[in-house]
Amino acid sequence: MSVCTLRIDDQDVAIAAGSTVLQAIRSAAIAVPTLCHLDGLSPVGACRLCLVEVEGSERLLAACVTTVQDGMRIHTNSSRLQEMRRTLIELLFSEGNHICAICVANGQCELQDLAVRVGMDHSRFSYRYPNRCVDLSHPQFGLDHNRCILCTRCVRVCDEVEGAHVWDVGWRGEHCQIISGLAEPWGAVEACTNCGKCIEVCPTGALFHKGEGTDEKHGHPGRLAALVQGRSRQELEP
């Protein structure tokens, strides 16, 4: 296997050719925020938080979907990128109804953590306060659209790993929402196997176990990588 060497911020990094820039960044223990990315799922490059500057490229590139090239020089944390990341997080807060104080995921939420990380002490954009609903039709689980950030991890895990394809994205633009079946109540969708993987990978409190109160949800997005890896080595029956 051939190896690429690249320079990330002030570190020299060597990594197998074909790896993504995000893998290279993480291998150098450099912290770049991500939301839609999750090890074990196909990358979509949607949240734009992992944008980095690559010398010689006019455009910013999403690290999760960019393949390393030998000699690349990458900057992950310029003031321009910092400002951009804060803006993106603010935009996410402004478009939903994120009320951490009463959220099941309070203290365990990737969005909440990112807000701290990018230094967001308030949103410069006006809050939209959209009128969204909560689906409690499933016997074990719930979906609160107010907290959904459309990262589509649930859509991908259900399709790619569980093979049930209960979820998809419906409508478009600001009206996008996660849908189950024909945009029906989750509990009415026969395809659901009740596996709960969507709950585990959800970065916020949008998908949760019924009965969980404020601060009580503990997602396990990290478990997925082990599961997928195990399957690829055929250690686990799918």
Partner: protein, 501 residues
């Protein structure tokens, strides 16, 4: 339509000695409905103003009984002066057959030269030579981005694998743009021929034309043209006796502007949500159903046969088709040599605003473009000059705005468009366009502060830099370009207290 039917009735009478046919658009739409009278080499365009179809048919009958139609101008009609700048300053090579041939009749198109270039290319059997010609012509994508066409073709041709696909992007979605519609309705075979030549050059066996559903007439004419071309052996297996086979399928959109973006278009052809994906991989490598795919737009393909017919020297720098609308005396579709000055187009050809108000701006490139101030009207219309002004050539929509136009309103209009058409996949475009429109509306309501204006500018830059696809990346262009050229319009809307700061 009624006009065509009545005249056809007259013509069908024995011994009339004339043919009446329906043709595609002649160009000067604001003078429509139009018909042309051809006697020998002389062709005159006649604009119908107050005459009804039956009156016209009667007049035609009378004129016929008198003999020649050479001087015939029916009552209630006006003959258009062929020397008028709108007509005389054009160089109609792509649109040459539009308005001449019956687009629903392949034999009429063939007698005007359709498919002769395909025939020649297949006879020469040298795909590299085709690509080389396209490359040396300097032809750039006519859909908006202006990527060098020859380079694109060479890339697809060089891709490994026997199976390749060809796509024609006919999802002409820019509001105020109808060049491709004109070509497809007036001369669909020029596009089919261009596609077949391209398919031969890059080694594609199967093609798709992705057309927006809002163009029912173009769809009908394309369907017919494809069927006729298949029947005549210009599409299908062993075309024109060669070993080359190429099939075409029509795919009709369902109302999504973003499907003009090539990766979204690919998803839509595959029957999925029209959501873009990050590039690379580019469609040339990973396109429709994962196969190497060449995507060009309608006008680009329509340039191919004429490039072959004229050859490099006579083809020259080529032309661009524009649709002229807005505050102009004469609107319609025109084809001019690339490099023609904006002033020539909007003042000389289109006659400027109808009531002699001064021109304030010319908008090009639709929601992905920008506004050019009147002071820059002497700019030659080419890819690089327009880019330097903060706008783009775009697909060819050109909207003229007179001095009564508020440019903040124009920016808000385009932002609302982009917000509605955002696919919703990436955050900056999905939510950034919402916030940008809010800021513009706040300005228009005279409630904005200097801080809001700064925010508008900053967020525009973020949405431009952070968005996933071309739609989001260019959505702030109408704001940034009007901020650059018409800042006074913005400042005039600030709260009175703020403006004095």
């Amino acid at each position: 339509m009624a006009l065509l039917d009545r005249c056809a009735e007259v013509a069908q009478q024995p011994g009339s000695g004339i043919t009446v046919k329906g043709v595609g658009c002649h160009g000067p739409c604001s003078d429509g409905p139009l018909f042309s009278v051809a006697c020998g080499d002389e062709v005159r365009l006649i604009s119908v103003q107050s005459s009804s179809a039956s009156e016209l048919a009667m007049e035609l009958q009378e004129a016929l009984s008198r003999g020649s139609l050479r001087e015939w101008v029916p009552r209630g009609c006006r003959s258009l002066d062929p020397q008028s700048p709108f007509l005389a300053l054009q160089r109609r090579i792509v649109l040459e057959r539009c308005g001449q041939i019956d687009p629903e009749d392949l034999s009429d198109a063939e007698s005007a030269g359709a498919y002769q270039q395909l025939n020649a290319v297949l006879a020469a059997n040298n795909p590299e030579a085709v690509i080389d010609l396209v490359r040396r012509s300097g032809l750039r994508g006519r859909g908006g981005a202006g990527y060098p066409t020859g380079l694109k073709w060479a890339t697809v041709a060089a891709m490994p694998g026997a199976e390749k696909r060809l796509v024609c992007n006919a999802d002409e979605g820019d509001p105020g743009a109808f060049m491709d519609r004109t070509i497809l309705e007036g001369d669909p075979h020029s596009v089919l021929e261009g596609m077949a030549i391209a398919a031969f050059a890059v080694g594609a066996q199967h093609g798709f034309i992705y057309i927006r559903a809002e163009y029912p007439l173009a769809i009908a004419r394309l369907r017919r043209a494809i069927a006729q071309a298949q029947q005549q052996g210009w599409l299908g297996t062993t075309i024109a006796g060669s070993r080359f086979s190429f099939d075409l399928e029509l795919r009709v959109g369902a109302g999504a502007y973003v499907c003009g973006e090539e990766t979204a278009l690919i998803h839509s052809i595959e029957g999925q949500r029209g959501v873009p994906r990050p590039r690379p991989p580019y469609p040339a490598e990973h396109g429709v159903f994962g196969l190497p795919t060449l995507i060009n737009n309608v006008e680009t393909y329509a340039n191919i046969p004429v490039l072959h017919r004229l050859g490099l020297e006579r083809y020259g720098v080529g032309t661009k088709v524009f649709s002229l609308t807005g505050h102009v005396s004469r609107s319609g579709v025109i084809e001019v040599p690339i490099g023609t000055s904006l002033r020539t187009i909007v003042e000389t050809m289109a006659g400027g605003p109808p009531d002699h108000k001064p021109i304030k701006a010319v908008q090009t490139g639709g929601p992905s473009g920008g506004c050019i101030p009147a002071a820059a009207l002497d700019t030659p219309v080419d890819y690089d000059s327009l880019q330097a002004l903060g706008t783009i050539m775009g697909s060819g929509g050109m909207v003229v705005m007179d001095s009564t136009t508020n440019m903040v309103d124009v920016a808000a209009y385009f932002m609302a468009f982009s917000r509605e058409e955002s696919c919703g996949k990436c955050i900056p475009c999905r939510t950034g366009t919402v916030q940008l429109e809010l800021l513009l509306r706040k300005l228009l309501a005279r409630k904005a502060t200097v801080a809001d204006l700064e925010q508008l500018e900053r967020l525009s830059e973020t949405v431009r830099d952070a968005s996933l696809c071309g739609l989001g990346q260019s959505a702030p262009k109408p704001v940034l370009s009007t901020l650059r050229h018409f800042r006074a319009d913005y400042l005039a809307l600030l709260q009175p207290l703020e403006a004095s700061r």
